[in-house]
C-alpha cells in the first residue's frame, strides 16, 4: 500500500510491542521501519504495550475514549484503511487479546497524517465487534466485489486452544463509502479439529491475505499458520537408521558448540556498554560465528525430522484456490 501518496510501495505492520510501524518506500528502497505516532507525537497503542524505556510490559489508559473502560487490549496487528473516505489513510488496530478492532482516525491530509489520540471501537449493531478466536491478522480487501473494503481476519486460536470458531473469517462491509458497517464474521476456513497424518490443513495462529493467483477473476486465499500432524510410524531401513544416528550425534555436538559460543560471548560482553563500538563489533563477530552453526543445525534437524514419526508441528503457507461463491 502507498501510505504517503508518493506512488511507491510502503509497508504498515503491527508489532508485538503494541505499536504499528511503517517502512516508507523510495526509489532507493525501504527506510527502516519507524513507529507511527499520533498528532501529539505519542505512540499509538491500545492499553498494553512493551515499554522500551523501562524494558517491561506496561499499560496505559491514555488512548481510551474518555469515560470508557475497554478491556485490556494489545494491538499486534495494524492496517491502513480510509474509514471516512476523506482521501487519507486511517488505521485499524487488531486486539490480540480481546478480538476487538479499534480505529485511529487520521485528522491530517494525504501526505501529512495527523492521527487522533484515542481508539474508537469498531462496532457491530452498536456493540464492539469481536472476532472469534481473537485477532492474529487483519487485511482490508473487497472479498465480495461490491466496491467496498471488507476485512479478512485471521484468529489467534484454533484447535490448539480448543476454539472451534477460529480460522480465517470474512467480515463483510455492508455499509457505504465513508460509512463502513461491518457484519457478523463468517468463516472462510475453519481450524482443523483432528490431527491429520500429514500437514494438509492449518491448525492455529492464522494469518491470511487474498489475491487472484490463478487469474480467473476472483480472490484466492493464502493462509500462514501452524500445522500439526501425526506422522504414521514406519520401519527405517538400516541406512536410514545410520543417518538418524549421525544426525542426532551431530545435533548434540552442535548444541554444545553453540552453548559454548554464547557463554564465551556473554563473558566478553560483560562490563561493556551495549551501545559502544566494542560491544557492537563483538555482537557482529559473534553473529558471524554462530550463523553457520544455526544453518547446520537447521539442516540436521530437518533430516532428523524426516526420519522420526508421531506428532509433529511446523508453520506453512497454504493456497486456497477459490472455486466459487
Amino acid at each position: 500500500m502507498d501510505f504517503d501518496g508518493d506512488g511507491r510501495l510502503d509497508l504498515v505492520a503491527g508489532t508485538f510491542s503494541g505499536s504499528p510501524h511503517l517502512a516508507l518506500g523510495s526509489a532507493e528502497g525501504f527506510a527502516q521501519p519507524r513507529q507511527i505516532l499520533d498528532g501529539a507525537g505519542e505512540r499509538i497503542l491500545l492499553n498494553e504495550f512493551w515499554n522500551y524505556e523501562t524494558e517491561e510490559w506496561d499499560s496505559t489508559r491514555r488512548c481510551d475514549v474518555p469515560g470508557t473502560s475497554p478491556p485490556a487490549g494489545h494491538a499486534t496487528s495494524a492496517v491502513a484503511f480510509d474509514w471516512d473516505a476523506d482521501g487519507d489513510l486511517d488505521l485499524l488496530l487488531g486486539d490480540y487479546r480481546s478480538g476487538r478492532i479499534f480505529r485511529r482516525m487520521n485528522e491530517g491530509k494525504p501526505g501529512a497524517p495527523r492521527f487522533a489520540g484515542v481508539n474508537l471501537p469498531v462496532l457491530l449493531d452498536g456493540e464492539p465487534l469481536v472476532i472469534p478466536g481473537k485477532i492474529e491478522s487483519l487485511r482490508p480487501l473487497d472479498w465480495d466485489g461490491d466496491g467496498l473494503l471488507d476485512l479478512l481476519c485471521g484468529s489467534v486460536e484454533g484447535r490448539m486452544k480448543g476454539n472451534a470458531a477460529g480460522g480465517i473469517l470474512w467480515v463483510r462491509n455492508g455499509g457505504q463509502r465513508g460509512e463502513p458497517r461491518f457484519e457478523t464474521p463468517r468463516a472462510l476456513v475453519s481450524a482443523v479439529r483432528e490431527l491429520p497424518s500429514r500437514p494438509a490443513l492449518p491448525f492455529g495462529g492464522f494469518y491470511a491475505d487474498a489475491a487472484d493467483l490463478d487469474g480467473d477473476g476472483d480472490l484466492d486465499l493464502v493462509v500462514g499458520a501452524k500445522g500439526e500432524w501425526d506422522e504414521p510410524v514406519r520401519a527405517l531401513t538400516p541406512e536410514e537408521e545410520e543417518r538418524l544416528k549421525q544426525a542426532r550425534r551431530e545435533l548434540e555436538e552442535l548444541r554444545q558448540t553453540i552453548d559454548a559460543a554464547y557463554a564465551a560471548f556473554e563473558q566478553e560482553l560483560a562490563g561493556l556498554d551495549e551501545d559502544s563500538p566494542q560491544a557492537r563489533a563483538l555482537v557482529e563477530s559473534h553473529q558471524e560465528k554462530v550463523r553457520p552453526l544455526f544453518e547446520r543445525q537447521r539442516q540436521r534437524t530437518e533430516e532428523q525430522d524426516g526420519l522420526t514419526f508421531g506428532r509433529k508441528e511446523s508453520t506453512f503457507v497454504w493456497w486456497y484456490e477459490r472455486l466459487g461463491g
Partner: protein
C-alpha cells in the same frame, strides 16, 4: 528476556471467555483442497514463528509477490515467477532496507 517470553503466555492464559457474538455463519465461498506453497525448492514459511503472508508487488513487475513477516519483525519476499501455470514463487530472500540491513520491525 524472561519477562518478554512470559507475557505472551500470560496473554493466552488470561484470555476472556466466549462472548455473545462468538460463533460464525458459513460464508458463500468454495475452495479447492489447500495446497502447501513452495518458494524455490523449500516450503514457504516453514519453521518461521507466526508466518504472516501479504501480497505486495515488491519488484514492480505487475505480479503480486508474497511478503512473509514473522514474530521477530523480519520480512522475507518470495517473488512470483512469470508463467501461466499454477502460482509458483522463487526462493525466499530477506527483504532489505535501503541501508542494506534486513528490514526490522522491532517487535519488542
Amino acid at each position: 528476556m524472561t519477562t518478554r517470553w512470559l507475557f505472551p503466555l500470560l496473554l493466552l492464559s488470561a484470555a476472556p471467555g466466549p462472548t455473545a457474538q462468538e460463533g460464525t455463519s458459513p460464508a458463500p465461498a468454495r475452495f479447492a483442497p489447500p495446497v502447501l506453497l513452495e518458494a524455490g525448492d523449500k516450503l514457504l514459511g516453514a519453521r518461521r514463528l507466526y508466518p504472516s503472508p501479504g501480497f505486495h508487488d515488491v519488484d514492480g513487475d505487475g505480479r503480486a509477490d508474497l511478503v512473509i513477516g514473522d514474530l521477530w519483525g523480519r520480512f522475507t519476499v518470495a517473488r512470483r515467477l512469470a508463467d501461466d501455470g499454477p502460482p509458483r514463487f522463487g526462493a525466499e530472500d530477506w527483504l532489505l532496507a535501503r541501508d542494506g540491513e534486513k528490514l526490522d520491525f522491532s517487535n519488542w
